[in-house]
């Protein structure tokens, strides 16, 4: 996969392998915590660890979390919108997608959310994340590959925002 900046207003991801294109299409689904309690708790984490602040924590759940949910959803909708324009070449199956530069923040957020949710949903620990994916036939390895790909893309997008 190649990343280029054809102009000031867009980023082009080209030569995307079908497997990686599939990972891209899964970003928003992966970022959805659904009913998974651990993933929900990670996305909407507690604002205090002090048991005396119970009232504050209640207010937070009632008023702040719905606003955060809207914020997270809007980033995922932007990613979905960009991915709808992803096209695959007939012969190679490789895909390409253009991302407006002002969507990069949303992509960084969505990739981060997907990584956090997947890690919680599949109960991965720090040691798991450091492990290199071993085999394409192993579902756990495919999950690690998906996580590594999202992390790499997030890192590259951060670099682009910082002019690296």
């Amino acid at each position: 996969m190649e990343i280029s900046r054809p102009n000031e207003t867009s980023i082009l991801l080209a030569g995307i392998d079908p497997l990686l294109a599939n990972f891209l299409r899964r970003i928003t689904r992966s970022a959805d915590p659904g009913d998974n309690e651990a993933a929900q708790a990670r996305i909407f984490s507690q604002p205090t660890q002090d048991p005396r602040e119970e009232h504050f924590a209640e207010d937070w759940r009632d008023y702040v979390e719905p606003e955060l949910a809207k914020l997270f959803q809007s980033a995922l909708e932007i990613i979905d919108g960009d991915l709808k324009k992803m096209r695959s070449e007939m012969g190679t199956g490789q895909a390409a997608v253009s991302i407006p530069s002002d969507h990069l923040e949303s992509w960084i957020h969505g990739l981060n959310q997907a990584r956090l949710v997947l890690t919680e949903r599949h109960q991965l620990h720090e040691k798991d994340l450091e492990r290199a994916p071993a085999s394409a036939s192993d579902p756990r390895s495919m999950l690690l590959l998906q996580l590594h790909f999202y992390a790499e893309l997030q890192f590259l997008f951060l670099g682009l925002l910082e002019g690296r």
């Binding site: 984490s45 604002p47 660890q49 009232h55 957020h109 981060n112 951060l158 925002l161």
Partner: protein, 93 residues
């Protein structure tokens, strides 16, 4: 004549006037470069200062990134949660 019932406010927040810390906690998933960038964006830190706090989070498990009045501390925690960082408010001792 009906009896007058005086209700006491029981839901007051404790010690609102003391300084409050905004604490960021470590998690193994957030990228160090992402955490640094969030600190720069939310608090206007220089890159060096943002990296110092990021390394504190990474190496010590937590870093106090801001101290001050309660209302602003709550707003900062909300912003940090918007970036999916693990952040809490705590009383400064």
């Amino acid at each position: 004549m009906p009896e007058t019932v005086v209700e006491k406010e029981t839901k007051s927040r404790p010690a609102i006037d003391v300084p409050w810390n905004v604490v960021v906690h470590n998690d193994p998933v957030n990228l160090t470069s992402y955490v640094t960038r969030v600190f720069q964006k939310v608090f206007g830190f220089t890159r060096t200062r943002a990296q110092k706090h990021m390394l504190e989070v990474h190496n010590l498990g937590r870093s106090i990134v801001w101290t001050g009045e309660r209302e602003r501390a709550e707003a900062y925690v909300e912003q940090l949660h918007g970036y999916l960082l693990l952040s809490t408010l705590e009383k400064s001792v």
